[in-house]
Amino acid sequence: MSLEIRNLHARIAANGTEILRGLDLTVEAGKVHAIMGPNGSGKSTLSKVLGGHPDYEVTEGEVLLDGVNILGMEPDVRSRAGLFLAFQYPMEIPGVSNANFLRAALQARLPEGEELEATDYYARLYEKMDMLEMDRKFTARSVNDGFSGGEKKRNEILQMLMLEPRYAILDETDSGLDIDALKIVSHGVNAMRGPERGFLVITHYQRLLDYIVPDVVHVLVGGRIEHTGGKELALELEAKGYDWIKDDIAQAVSA
């Protein structure tokens, strides 16, 4: 069981610029992988390409979710197949309440003709909100509409807790969170860790990885995974920056 990315090449549909250039990465169920890398290296692009965002075209490679290639699927089919993306910049959906949105998302996972049981749904929703220390008033508010940066990130994790994906990609969920919120959100993520579920955590800061301790750390530079190590790699990057990896690449190229 794994989310396996093989030789993935993707470009921006509008102008043809290649962003992902032969990316290989396998997240096994039960594991937490972290991705770090310089601004603009393609981390968010990777998460959106995995989600099936229409701005990008895959020109080569495969993405296998538990052995099934998901690249031809619509974004919603991928979601229902178990892929979740916590966005770096979550969208605001005016007019659609958080509670109705999640309810519709869960309803979409049920077989035709089956109705989501409202009482159970609200009981679960409140339980998860309590875990994330979210005020109940957020159920009636429109999705992310007027939420603070930190509230949006928390709301992403709430959705993840409710939808229980097989593989979750968290794109800079830590940015915008205050120290207390970071702990609370990490607690929520850790509560979901288990042998059935894989995580891909994108971050710039070692601090998050103190709370969500990764099994593997990757460095993404220029659209490829250039370096892979254990959790201590994050500390090393924090101390040394990315230049040494870029230097290594330059040497390898000139050699």
Partner: protein, 476 residues
């Protein structure tokens, strides 16, 4: 039509179904057919078939001249109007039957049509009376007996004109004069079908009266004429639904609806229309509200190629109140040109307009409002809110509010907003497992939710279903 031809078209037009509830048609069988094209002979044909009194025949002929003399209003309205070829349209199709009071007696094809649209079922469930019109004439009309005993009249306009001519003639054409606009003139010339309702003083009709307008024939124009009179202190709610199958050629629907609310009466008129994308829907709707009367138009416009409709209230008596709540959904290739008119003509009159439009893809929504409060009046108030939702970037929306408020004791409040659902927002929702259509439906339903909550339950359910279907259709 010759029998061979009839058989050939029978085969060609085998019942054609797709998932939108209204999109099917049965082969036509009409005893009376005014033929294609429009002339004074067409008017005479209709008057002959209906065996009408002379005053109506003259009214029609005069109206036809007005229609011919008026230009298309393309100096302000869509040039798509030029694509209506009046000489290619059929103006009267009927099988010559009087509307039956019993569902069993309705001809089979027609019965099947309405059964598929859920009509008799709805009647049993929650309606006080139902009229069903198929092409030009009502085929069925029935009302709970208790209402008849209280003096309530609910019949087709043809029957209203014949059997209740003293009331009919008093109000007919008085709220909307023939020359109001080109299409009210057209309707006045060739009208057929529609409802005639009279509610006597003090009678409160608890459950809604419903009419259902169905176009079955191709190249056809439906011109129903509705006249509702709520006498002093009475209350009534009327609901209309409309559908047509999807034909390749243009179909014209051009109704005139006149409402009269006498002193202290409450009159609500609810429309949920779901025309197919080939229908030109050009409707004139207006009410007169006398002293302390309340008139409320709830108007939901879904589908059609071009809809032009601006329900209005003339606030004629002191403390009269008028309201227009409208929802317009313009999908790819459609243009909803809708709005409201409030003519304040007495002191302390109030009006409220809430309009929400949704444009999807290349769909286009236009709001036109007219609020008129003259200088000599005192204590008049208007509130106008108009909100537009654009789903993806090619959509377009325009608002043309014309508010003239004169005099110091009068006030008007106007708010407008435009919000957008981008491809990025749709992607976000899809990432959570909703299909593109579901994502769009959810946004649209969220946008109109505060209005829909005021609708009768059955209609809000119906509206939600129609929005879902329309969104499914728009993603292909």
């Amino acid at each position: 039509m010759s029998t061979e031809l009839l058989e050939a078209t029978d085969q060609a037009k085998q019942i054609d179904i797709d998932r939108t509830a209204g999109n099917f048609s049965y082969p036509e069988q009409h005893t009376f057919d005014a033929g294609t094209g429009l002339s004074h002979a067409t008017v005479d044909y209709i008057s002959d078939v209906k065996n009408e009194p002379d005053w109506i025949r003259e009214f029609r002929h005069k109206a036809l001249d007005v229609f011919f003399s008026k230009p298309m209003p393309t100096h302000w309205a869509s040039h798509d109007l030029e694509n209506i070829i009046f000489q290619n349209i059929r103006y009267y199709l009927a099988n010559g039957q009087k509307p039956t009071r019993s569902w069993e007696e309705v001809p089979d094809d027609v019965k099947k049509t309405f059964e598929r649209l859920g009509i008799p079922e709805q009647e049993r469930k929650f309606l006080a009376g139902v009229e069903a019109q198929f092409d030009s004439e009502a085929v069925y009309s029935n009302m709970k007996k208790a209402l008849g005993d209280q003096g309530v009249i609910f019949v087709g306009s043809t029957e209203g004109l014949k059997e209740h001519s003293e009331i009919f003639r008093k109000w007919f054409g008085k709220v909307i004069p023939t020359g109001d606009n080109k299409f009210s003139a057209l309707n006045s010339a060739v009208f057929s079908g529609g409802s005639f309702i009279y509610v006597p003083p003090g009678v409160k009709v608890k459950h809604p009266l419903q009419a259902y307008f169905r176009i079955n024939a191709e190249n056809f124009g439906q011109f129903e004429r509705t006249l509702i009179i709520a006498d002093e202190g009475s209350e009534v709610m009327y609901m209309e639904g409309c559908t047509a199958p999807k034909f390749e050629t243009a179909t014209l629907h051009s109704a005139v609806v006149e409402l009269v609310a006498m002193k202290g009466a409450k009159l609500q008129y609810v429309t949920v229309q779901n025309w197919s994308a080939n229908v030109f829907n050009l409707v004139t709707k207006r009410a007169i509200a006398h002293e302390e009367a309340e008139v409320k138009w709830i108007d939901c416009n879904i589908g059609s190629r071009l809809t032009m409709k601006y329900p209005g209230v003339v606030l004629k008596g002191r403390k009269a109140r008028g309201e227009v709540i409208s929802i317009a959904l313009a999908s790819d290739g459609q243009h909803q040109d809708t709005g409201a008119k409030m003519i304040h003509a007495a002191d302390e009159t109030t009006s409220n307009i809430v309009s929400k439009s949704i444009s999807v893809g290349t769909g286009r929504a236009t709001y036109r409002g007219l609020v008129h409060i003259p200088k000599h009046l005192k204590g008049c108030k208007n509130n106008t809110e108009c909100d537009a939702l654009l789903i993806n970037s090619t959509a377009r929306t325009d608002t043309y509010p014309a508010i003239t408020v004169r005099g110091t004791g009068n006030s008007s409040q106007h708010e407008a907003s435009v919000s957008q659902i981008s491809a990025e927002q749709i992607f976000y929702m899809q990432q959570r497992g909703l299909t593109e259509a579901q994502a769009m439906s959810l946004s649209v339903n969220g946008f109109v939710n505060d209005l829909v909550r005021q609708f009768p339950m059955e209609y809000s359910v119906e509206l939600k279903r129609l929005i879902d279907l329309e969104m499914e259709g728009s993603v292909g």
